[in-house]
Amino acid sequence: MSALVHLDRISMVYGRGVSSVRAIEEVSLDIAKGEFIAVVGPSGCGKSSLMRLISGLHPPLAGILTVEGNPVKGPLKSVGMAFQNSNLLPWRNALENVLLPLEIVEPHRSRIRTERKQYREKAIKLLEAVGLAGFTEKHPWELSGGMQQRTSICRALIHEPDILMLDEPFGALDAFTREELWCTLRDLQAARGVTVMLVTHDLREAVFLADTVYVMSSRPGRIVKRCEVKIARPRDLEVTYTPEFQEIVHELRHLIGRGGEGAH
């Protein structure tokens, strides 16, 4: 397995001097190409910081971070991001929102004017793949929360990034919509073979979707456990009711409980 992302004893702080906050402490992990990893942990444990770090949006304080063997010095461009809040631009319809990254990232940026039609078709296909056929011309306020989130994920994928970073993307959705979107994401990842890093506090979500689950401790975040999920793919939602699945979830829950020093 060749590592796409490699972190070696990475530490990261926010701010400077006395007011600085240690967000991440000595985190080491590898993400293979095409791997689906999930990072779980109590809130404020630096999960999101880890994402910002790997995207090159925030530099590490110490340690080595490479992507495809190259040290990360700035924003990666080969990354697509989606957050809990879909952050769609209200003045653009779903299709135009999905096209946004292409207007920024090279080489699409210089091509989009002349090849707008091809790019539109590509975006429409992607939107259809997540079940939004017929909603491409709708504006964000005309879409349900789940649809907005699907659009947001399409926006993160349109420029065919090497890594898809998702920060609690389904956190604000109801349970049924969330499970529906799990399946959408599962199928997207299977079809495209994209490397995914999912930050979540939903353990069932992590175990259902990921190949490898990392458990982080509360701040400063350290990785306390690496857990490979050996459930065969493709996984059906039914799998979440099997004893095997429950056992993994239970074990992870136990770890987080201990990591929180019995706070709850």
Binding site: S55, L57, P75, M81, F83, P90, P101, I104
Partner: protein
């Protein structure tokens, strides 16, 4: 539904306005208020008709100087707003000076402007500009400053420059604030022009009212006030229409949330 809309949007304001004029007329008649204190509505409308030519003439001057000052304020306010919203250092540097400048009553500036540019339209245009650019600056800067940090992350991770983020997100996002501020700015510009005209000008509604006042032609003074109110409504409605036209998404978005 259509009928209801019509009642609310047309019949209701019309009834209210007419009632106001009728009450004014009645009050003047019942309490026998002298013409030199408060002319009745009929007197004022009479004056408006009788002196329609000089009034129209002077209204035109007031209108175009207001629009000229407003246009300069819009361009300048937009540019300064973008600069202020661009970076926190610029914001911190410029803001206190802006607030200080805005606190100076503009009436106090008019004599200086007259000194520099002489009696005429230029001081009026300048006053309209000086009084009305501030809300535009503040609103544009606010719109830019409220860009979601996560959205900025999404774009920065793609290698977007600050200019890219401004063009794709910041500026469109601040448009509702910008157009909202135009409604405030146009009324302020109008105030600025008239204030300047009453201090140092040779034309304009302000000047007309000043002359009428010194000649004790009180109905003309009130006719001037009526014209000012009417022009104010027209200018406000125009900017409100432009706002609706360009940032309909902001209103629709809120209505459904």
């Amino acid at each position: 539904m259509e009928r209801r809309e019509f009642l609310i949007k047309v019949v209701s304001p019309a009834t209210f306005t007419v009632t106001l004029f009728v009450l004014w007329e009645l009050a003047c008649r019942i309490f026998k208020i002298p013409l030199t204190i408060l002319p009745s509505a009929m007197d004022v409308f009479g004056a408006l008709w009788q002196y329609r030519e000089p009034i129209a003439d002077n209204s035109f001057v007031t209108l175009w100087t207001t629009l000229a000052g407003f246009a300069i304020a819009t361009a300048f306010g937009l540019l300064l707003g973008i600069a202020v919203g661009w970076h926190r250092a610029i914001y911190a540097g410029i803001y206190p000076v802006l607030v200080g400048f805005n606190s100076i009553p503009k009436v106090a500036v008019v004599p200086v402007l007259v000194l520099w540019f002489g009696i005429g339209e230029v001081p009026a245009i300048m006053t309209a500009f000086l009084i009305s650019f501030f809300p535009i600056v503040v609103n544009v800067a606010t719109g830019l400053a409220t860009t979601e940090p996560e959205l900025e992350d999404v774009l920065r991770a793609l290698g977007a420059s600050k200019l890219d983020i401004m063009k794709k997100v910041g500026i469109p996002r601040s448009l509702p604030y910008f157009f909202g501020s135009l409604k405030v700015a146009i009324t302020l510009a109008f105030v600025g022009t008239v204030v300047s005209e009453t201090v140092g000008a040779n034309k304009g509604i302000g000047k007309l009212m000043l002359d009428a006042q010194s000649a004790f032609q009180v109905p003309i003074v009130f006719a001037g006030l009526l014209v000012l109110a009417f022009l104010g409504i027209v200018l406000y409605a125009m900017t409100a229409l432009i706002e609706q036209r360009f940032t309909g998404w902001a209103f629709r978005g809120q209505a459904n949330r």
